[in-house]
Amino acid sequence: MLEITCPWCGPRDETEFDYGGEAHIDRPKDPDKLTDEAWAEYLFMRKNPKGPHLERWMHACGCRRWFNVRRDTFTHEITAVYRMGEKPPGDGA
């Protein structure tokens, strides 16, 4: 099991969290102007790296806040936790 450090509540068990997929995906400013391909790219296409990954988690059983995590998808090592709206520390993923 992972131990995830909630930016508010500190280290808690993975069972208290919900996973929210890849982080930092901005909704297009003007969806009406997009091609179907560009819309599909926004809606469906996600990175699937073997290595560091920026992703969202939510402390569902605790303070119920969303935040960002940089987790290695191969080793499960969590190397950064930062709040919503903040930029990933260092060079990102």
Partner: protein, 202 residues
């Protein structure tokens, strides 16, 4: 004034009063159902203005340190999130607390909601109370990590709970959603039996 309704505690059907003892003796765990505790959900960004207004109504400022509680005069505020608290009052005093908060917070972007009936409160104390919680709760409850005045939202036997440590003895108040109260009481009773359990009046 809305019509009143026959109010029933979430654990009344267990007839705990009939089992309650006056002196728990050397029981390792002491449990009680706290009936009709007032609970008020308070939301708002903890600006200086907000904290002064809420503090003026409550007699103390809502805590900004995560997972801590503050209180005075029988009323406590439990930190639930960076802009959310659970105000806990003695039975019957939630109305005046709500009125006080609404009067002081008028005009601010804040919300004061009576959620008294939403959760049941189980009091858990005694020298082995911590061991009972540790059987089903992922929190680090060691005294160096969790002590009197700390509170946390987590799971206990898979039910969502708020745990508030009220004394270093230790003693805890466990807030559980009303529909889980029967289940959680039975689970706690089962978990506590090996340490010797006494039920007292709430």
């Amino acid at each position: 004034m809305p019509e009143t309704y026959p109010r029933q505690g979430a654990l009344d059907h267990l007839r705990l009063d009939a089992r309650a003892v006056d002196d728990p003796g050397d029981a390792g765990v002491v449990m009680c159902a706290r009936r009709f505790v007032g609970k008020v959900n308070l939301r708002g960004r903890p600006t200086k203005r907000f904290r002064e207004a809420a503090g003026g109504a409550l007699g103390f400022a809502p805590p900004v340190k995560p997972n801590t509680a503050a209180g005075a005069g029988g009323v406590s505020a439990l930190w639930l999130g960076p802009d959310e608290w659970l105000i806990v009052t003695p039975p019957g005093r939630e109305g005046e607390v709500i009125e006080g908060l609404r009067a002081r917070l008028g005009g601010q972007h804040a919300a004061v909601t009576d959620v008294s009936e939403g959760r049941a409160v189980i009091g858990l104390a005694g020298p082995r109370a911590r061991e009972v919680l540790m059987k089903g709760c992922p929190l680090d409850l060691h005294p160096r990590a969790f002590k009197a005045g700390d509170c946390a939202q987590s799971t206990l036997a898979r039910a969502l709970v708020i745990v508030h440590q009220t004394s270093d003895a230790p003693a805890y108040d466990v807030y559980v959603e009303r529909s889980f109260a029967d289940y959680l009481w039975r689970w706690l009773e089962d978990a506590a039996t090996e340490y010797g359990l006494a039920v007292i009046r709430g």
